[in-house]
């Protein structure tokens, strides 16, 4: 029997799963869409991973990260629950110990991590607005009638990217409609969007930071060839995009679950567990907190959201 460690990264757009062996090498990985239902996505993920996994592997650690980390952590009985930024930094330094700058654009947030000798030195993250992130690109792709997977390749065809304001999705959208109506080619508009994401990132997240190579670009948006190209062009530096760049969070959290292994064997058979959540607005005081109650097999296990801590 071999020991395995599972990392699950549940993002706003996609859900990623990775199983590492004791040497932190990937034995299995999967990438699926979250589609607004993290519980269902993780059930599907675990089901598929279990079917494709060789039967001599036993899971001794589960880590969860990403925006649904808390919820899924409870569901799968995780031994580590950590935010995605830390997870990403750990994943990347595992593969690129010399990395100096990590550029990362995810579905709802973007961040920059500056490292020295494998340790984080500085860091920046976008504010709570999702401008210039993956969800911005996917909503624009929908508007243009293009699959998000083809976005980057189309952008590479363009020779004259149009200028688009990317500070705000609403302004970008009116820019985009205008450019389309006056007759610009679709690929030029798409290239313009990719470039605007880069400029927006460097202006918002990268302000005042020295970007030193080696530079690693990751997160879902790193799969977009157009954005990668414009990062190279604007920074005039080589950019590393790992083949597993979209899995770095899951890898990082799997490494952490290995590190903090508690000796307890875990199962991937959560597909049959009835895991339900129930949201309601508390009426006990004028704060009207949104309380989320979580049930496992119809048994209440935890609740979140109460500001006073007295209500569950």
């Amino acid at each position: 029997m071999k020991k395995g460690y599972l990392g699950i990264d549940i993002g706003s757009i996609s859900t990623k799963g990775v199983i590492l062996d004791e040497q932190n090498k990937i034995i299995n990985s999967l990438y699926i869409w979250t589609e607004g239902n993290p519980i269902k996505a993780v059930k599907t993920l675990l089901h598929q991973m279990k079917n494709s996994m060789s039967s001599d592997i036993e899971i001794y650690g589960i880590g969860t990260t990403g925006s649904a980390r808390k919820l899924i952590g409870l569901m799968v009985d995780a031994n580590v629950v950590k935010n995605e930024i830390t997870a990403h930094a750990i994943g990347t330094t595992h593969f690129y110990p010399d990395v100096r700058t990590i550029l990362e654009i995810g579905g709802q947030d973007s961040k920059m991590i500056v490292l020295k000798d494998g340790l984080i030195e500085d860091y920046a993250m976008n504010t709570l607005c999702a401008a210039g992130t993956g969800s911005f690109l996917s909503s624009q792709a929908k508007r243009l009638g293009v699959e998000i997977e083809d976005f980057g390749t189309l952008a590479l065809k363009s020779k004259n990217p149009v200028k688009i304001a990317a500070r705000c999705t609403v302004f970008a959208e009116s820019d985009l409609i205008h450019k389309a109506q006056v007759g610009y080619k679709k690929e030029d508009i798409i290239a313009g969007l990719c470039k605007s994401v880069v400029l927006n990132y460097l202006n918002n997240v990268g302000k005042g930071k020295k970007i030193m190579s080696p530079i690693v670009f990751q997160g879902g948006v790193s799969k977009n060839k157009g954005v990668e190209k414009y990062f190279k062009e604007v920074l005039n530096e080589d950019i590393i995009v790992d083949t597993n760049s979209h899995l770095m969070g899951a890898i990082g959290i799997a490494i952490l679950s290995h590190k903090y292994e508690d000796g307890k064997k875990r199962t991937l058979d959560v597909a049959d567990i009835a895991f339900e959540t129930q949201g309601r607005e508390c009426e006990k005081c004028s704060n009207h907190c949104e309380i989320l109650r979580i049930y496992k097999d119809s048994k209440f296990i935890e609740s979140w959201g109460s500001k006073c801590g007295k209500v569950s």
Partner: protein
Amino acid sequence: MDKIKIGIPRALHYYYYGDMWRSFLEELGYEVVISPKTTREILENGCKCANDEMCLSLKLYLGHIHYLVGKCDAILVPRIDNYGTYNQTCTNFLGLYDIVANLFKIPLLTYNVDETHKETEMKAFIKLGMLLGKGKEQSKIAYFNSVQKVEKEKKKKRKLELEKLSSSKKKLLVMSHPYNFEDAFIGKEIKNTIENLGAISINANALIESNKNDYFEFSSSLYWKYNKDLVGILPFIKDRVDGVLFLSTFPCGPDSLVNELLMRKIKMPYLNLIIDEESGSAGMETRLESFIDILEQKKVR
């Protein structure tokens, strides 16, 4: 006859002058009614009164006024313009009286502070006392007594905040207007989150000393008084904390310029959080958690 009740909204400049107003008005023999700590209901009522360009902090203010209507005889809404050249307040503070007078039908008490036109704070308070039918001398004494009392309180608060600096936990300096960070609804959650993550927050506002101000290290041309006061503490505090949290509400004009400037010059880890009406706290938690994680890792070196 019952005492006249004067309402004070627990928002905006309550966090600068609340104690002063209370002490002054009580000394002159009035009953002071302070609106309760912010709740979601107060925020929602404030948003209903507000227009779309007002900042969240002003919306909160209007929510507190809304609460006070019918619970007091008059509400104190001062108009504070400046404390001298290059000591301007934000336009909201300047327009506050007119905004409230237009939105609510309730008697308002007001005073003007406009030092570039020789309207000092002391003069303003004496005028306010006289407006309430009290004598000039009596008002002046009430003012000075209140100033003394408030200064004592401030010193105490400052000392407590400075004591936190000796903690072995990670220290986050929160650069924020007190009406945001000290507010029970928007700021308290952030403070709690920081504490639950095993770090502590240092309230920059509590450290301000009016006679000490070294903002020149960052810019020689700042002119918003409240921002300038905050910037002024940075030189002496920044090496004693692990990171800086810039916390502002959307859309704050002065913060958007001053904080931007600081982020480019401060050369230490910082996090910028801008809060709006959203009720989900996941984004904020992720940012704070990762920021504190990073500070923890940095310390290991």
